[in-house]
C-alpha cells in the first residue's frame, strides 16, 4: 500500500454540520486531519466560546473520529475557535502538510470518481492523492481534461497518459482508469456539467486570479454546485514560507 495521503476534513462542528454519509469510507485510506471549527463574531473572545462550547464540540468530534477509525482511516484532530475560518483552514493545511482538502458532501456508495486535470503543474500531488486513496478500491477513475485554446490532441494525450502511468505505478489497476476530454470555452462550467455523471470529484486548487476575487475561487464554485464530495488537491506550499517557518522553529 502507498503512503496515506493526508486529507483535511473541515467541519463547522457547532452549526449542525455533521459528517455526511459515506465520507469515512471514501477516505478509508487517508490520514484524516479532522478539523472541527467554530466561527465566532468579533464581539466574542475565542476563549469565551471555548469555555461554553468545548465539551459539546468534543463530543461530536469523538463520534466523527470513531467513524473514520472504523472505516480504516488514521485520524488526527483539532478543535479551533476562530474569528477567521479561512485563516484557520489554511494554517491547518500548512501545519499538517495536507495534500488535499475535502469539501464534505454525502456520497452513499461511490462507484466512479472524476479527476479533473488542468495541466502538468501539480500532477504529482494529484497522482499521490488519487493513487493513495483509491489504489485498493474498485472505484472507476476517469481522468478528465477540458481542452483549451492552443492545445493539440497530442498535448492532451500526453498529459492524461502521464497521469495514468503514475497511477498504475502507484498500484491502481489500469483497467479501472478511463480518460475523457471535452472542448469548451468555459472549462469550469464544463467540469461542473460533467461532474453530474459522477459520484465524487478530485481537482487541483486553482490559482487566484482577478476573476476569483469577483466570482470566488473556481474550486469553491464547483463545490457549491456539485452535490457530492470534492477533494481539492492543494498546491505545493511556496518555498519561502516553508523556509520562514523552518527559521522560526
Amino acid at each position: 500500500m502507498t503512503d496515506r495521503p493526508s486529507v483535511l476534513v473541515p467541519i463547522r462542528v457547532l452549526e449542525g454540520e455533521s459528517l455526511p454519509e459515506g465520507v469515512p469510507e471514501f477516505l478509508a485510506n487517508a490520514h484524516v486531519v479532522l478539523l472541527g471549527y467554530h466561527a465566532i463574531p468579533d464581539q466574542t473572545a475565542p476563549g469565551q466560546a471555548r469555555m461554553q462550547f468545548e465539551e459539546r464540540a468534543n463530543r461530536k468530534l469523538d463520534q466523527f473520529e470513531t467513524a473514520f477509525n472504523d472505516a480504516g482511516a488514521t485520524v488526527e484532530r483539532r478543535l479551533v475557535f476562530t474569528h477567521g475560518p479561512q485563516k484557520t483552514i489554511n494554517r491547518q493545511i500548512i501545519e499538517h502538510d495536507c495534500l488535499a482538502v475535502l469539501v464534505p458532501n454525502a456520497v452513499p456508495t461511490p462507484e466512479d470518481v472524476l479527476v479533473a486535470v488542468r495541466g502538468t503543474v501539480g500532477l504529482d500531488r494529484l497522482a499521490r492523492v488519487v493513487g493513495g486513496l483509491f489504489d485498493d478500491s474498485d472505484l472507476g477513475i476517469t481522468l478528465y481534461h477540458v481542452v483549451g485554446e492552443g492545445e493539440t490532441d497530442e498535448d492532451v494525450e500526453m498529459l492524461l497518459d502521464s497521469l495514468r502511468d503514475r497511477l498504475v505505478d502507484l498500484g491502481v489497476g489500469a483497467d479501472r482508469i478511463g480518460t475523457r476530454t471535452d472542448a469548451a470555452e468555459e472549462p469550469l462550467d464544463r467540469i461542473v456539467d460533467t461532474a453530474e455523471e459522477f459520484d465524487a470529484v478530485v481537482m487541483g486548487e486553482s490559482d487566484p486570479t482577478l476573476a476569483t476575487f469577483v466570482f470566488g475561487m473556481p474550486t469553491d464554485r464547483v463545490a457549491e454546485r456539485f452535490l457530492g464530495p470534492v477533494l481539492v488537491v492543494q498546491r505545493e506550499p511556496p518555498k519561502e514560507e516553508a523556509e520562514e517557518e523552518a527559521a522560526e522553529e
Partner: protein, 478 residues
C-alpha cells in the same frame, strides 16, 4: 516555536463554587493552545491592533477636548496633551513587555493578577471594566453633541425640555449595545476603514491648518501668551485630557487574539500612542492659533467644527462634523467591546459569576457581558457630567497603569523562569518607576468629585473580592 506559558496554577474556588479556567498550554504566533488539541485562533494583525488603539483614542482628544482644554490651560493645553502622551508612552513600554511575555486576553488585568495576586487583580479588573464604562459614556455624550451640531447645521434645532445631546447619547448607547449583541457582521474591518478615513481627513485638515497658523496664507493669528492661565492648570488639564490616551491598553485587552504577538503587540501599542500624541498636539496648536483660547472655549465640545469653519468655510465644518461623528462613535463602540472583554476575563477567573461571560446561542455574542457594559453606560450618560466621566475613566485606568509599572519592576527583579518577554523595555527600573509615580501623581490633579468616585469604586471592588473570590488564587510562580 512554542513559548512556555505563564507558570500559573490557578487554584481555589469562589463562593459560588466556580473555579478559574485552566491556563493554556502554549502560545504561538497563530494560536493559544489548550490541551486536548483545542486551539484559539489569533486573527488580528498589526493594522487591526493599531486601529483598535488609534480608533479608541482619537475620538476624545480631537473632537471633544480642545475647547474644554483651551479654556482651562490656554495655548499651553498643547503642553498638557504632550504630558499625557509622555505618561502614556511610559506606560505603553512596560505594557508591551508584559504583553509579549503573557499574550492573553484581559490585558492589564491579566498581568497584574498573575504577578501581584488576586486582590490587586480584582481591583484592577473591576476598575478596568467600569473605567471603560465611564469612558464609553463620555464618548457617547460627545457623540450626542456632534449629532446636535449636525442637526443645527441642517436647520433642525431640537426643542425638547431635556438636553438633546443626552437624549441622543442615550439613544446611541442603546443602539450600540443592541448592535453588539445582535450583529454578526464583521465589525473589525469596519473599524479599520473608519480609522483610515479619519486619519486621512485629519491629516489633510491639520496640514492646511498648520500652514495657515504659521502665516503661509497671509492671515494674522492672534498672538497670545503661551501660559495664559499660568502653569498649574496645565497639569490639571493634563489629568482631564488623559482620557484621550486610554486606547492603547485596549490593544492589550485583546492580546490573546493578536497574530505574532511578540512583534505586533509592542508596535500596535507604542505606535498608536505616538500617532495620537502628534495629532493631538498639532490639533491644539491649530485650534488655538485660529481662534485664541478664550473664543475656543466658548464653542464647547464641538469647538473643532468652528475651527474648520473659520479655516475652510462650510465644507470644512461639514467634513469635521462627519469626522467627529465617526470618531466618537468608533471610540464608544470600541470601549463597549473592551468592557465586555474585561467582564469575560473576570468571569474566566471566577472573580465574577461564570454566567457573566456566557455566550448567546442564537448570535454567538456575549450578551450578559455586553449588557453589563451597556446598562451602566446609559445611567452615566444620563448624568451628563462630561468632565467627571472623563476623569473617573482616567482615574481607574491610571491605577492600572501604575500597577503595570510596579508589576514590571517586580517581575524583572524576581526574574521567574517562565518570564521571557520577546520585547524588553529600556531603562529598567528607572523608566517604569517614573511611569508609576507619574500615573499615580496625575490622579492628584483631578477634581475632588472624580477622586472620590474613583476611590469608592476601588473600595467596592476590594470588598467584592473579599466577599466573592473565596479561595481563588491567580498569582503566578514568582
Amino acid at each position: 516555536m512554542d513559548e512556555p506559558a505563564v507558570d500559573v496554577e490557578t487554584t481555589g474556588e469562589n463562593v459560588a463554587g466556580e473555579r478559574p479556567e485552566d491556563e493554556p498550554e502554549a502560545v504561538t504566533d497563530d494560536v493559544t493552545a489548550h490541551d486536548d488539541e483545542v486551539e484559539l485562533e489569533r486573527t488580528i494583525g498589526l493594522v487591526g491592533g493599531l486601529a483598535i488603539g488609534i480608533g479608541t483614542m482619537i475620538g476624545a482628544g480631537i473632537f471633544v477636548f480642545p475647547g474644554l482644554a483651551a479654556t482651562e490651560a490656554g495655548p499651553a493645553a498643547s503642553l498638557s496633551f504632550t504630558i499625557g502622551g509622555v505618561i502614556a508612552l511610559l506606560v505603553a513600554l512596560p505594557t508591551s513587555e508584559l504583553a509579549t511575555a503573557m499574550p492573553r486576553s484581559g490585558g492589564g488585568y491579566y498581568f497584574i493578577s498573575r504577578s501581584l495576586g488576586t486582590a490587586y487583580g480584582a481591583i484592577v479588573g473591576i476598575g478596568l471594566w467600569l473605567g471603560l464604562v465611564f469612558a464609553s459614556a463620555f464618548y457617547l455624550v460627545g457623540l450626542g453633541h456632534y449629532v446636535v451640531a449636525v442637526l443645527a447645521e441642517i436647520g433642525m434645532g431640537l426643542s425638547i425640555p431635556v438636553a438633546p445631546h443626552v437624549v441622543l447619547g442615550l439613544t446611541f448607547g442603546v443602539i450600540l449595545t443592541a448592535l453588539s449583541i445582535g450583529g454578526t457582521e464583521n465589525t473589525a474591518s469596519l473599524q479599520n476603514i473608519i480609522v483610515v478615513v479619519l486619519l486621512a481627513i485629519l491629516t489633510g485638515f491639520l496640514t492646511y491648518g498648520s500652514l495657515d497658523a504659521v502665516g503661509v496664507f497671509g492671515r494674522q493669528t492672534a498672538p497670545e501668551a503661551f501660559f495664559s492661565q499660568g502653569f498649574f492648570p496645565v497639569l490639571t488639564t493634563a489629568a482631564l485630557v488623559f482620557t484621550s490616551y486610554l486606547g492603547f491598553a485596549q490593544v492589550a485587552t485583546v492580546a490573546g487574539e493578536i497574530k505574532q504577538p511578540s512583534r505586533n503587540l509592542p508596535r500596535a501599542m507604542i505606535g498608536s500612542v505616538i500617532v495620537v500624541t502628534v495629532f493631538y498636539v498639532v490639533t491644539i496648536f491649530v485650534a488655538t492659533s485660529a481662534f485664541g483660547a478664550d473664543a475656543l472655549g466658548r464653542f464647547g465640545e464641538t469647538a473643532m467644527v468652528e475651527v474648520a469653519r473659520e479655516l475652510l468655510g462650510l465644507p470644512g465644518a461639514v467634513l469635521i462634523l462627519f469626522a467627529g461623528l465617526l470618531a466618537t462613535f468608533s471610540s464608544a463602540n470600541a470601549s463597549i467591546l473592551s468592557a465586555s472583554r474585561s467582564v469575560y476575563a473576570l468571569s474566566r477567573d471566577a472573580l465574577l459569576p461564570r454566567r457573566a461571560g456566557q455566550v448567546n446561542l442564537r448570535y454567538g455574542t456575549p450578551h450578559v457581558a455586553l449588557l453589563m457594559a451597556g446598562g451602566p453606560i446609559l445611567v452615566l450618560v444620563a448624568t451628563d457630567r462630561v468632565e467627571v466621566l472623563a476623569e473617573v475613566a482616567s482615574f481607574l485606568h491610571l491605577v492600572m497603569y501604575g500597577l503595570i509599572c510596579v508589576a514590571l519592576i517586580v517581575l524583572r527583579r524576581r526574574d521567574p523562569e517562565w518570564y521571557d518577554p520577546r520585547y524588553r523595555m529600556p531603562g529598567v527600573p528607572a523608566l517604569p518607576a517614573v511611569g508609576a509615580v507619574a500615573s499615580f501623581a496625575l490622579i492628584a490633579f483631578m477634581n475632588p468629585t472624580s477622586i472620590v468616585v474613583g476611590i469608592v469604586i476601588m473600595l467596592v471592588s476590594y470588598l467584592w473580592y473579599r466577599y466573592y473570590a473565596g479561595t481563588v488564587e491567580l498569582k503566578g510562580d514568582i
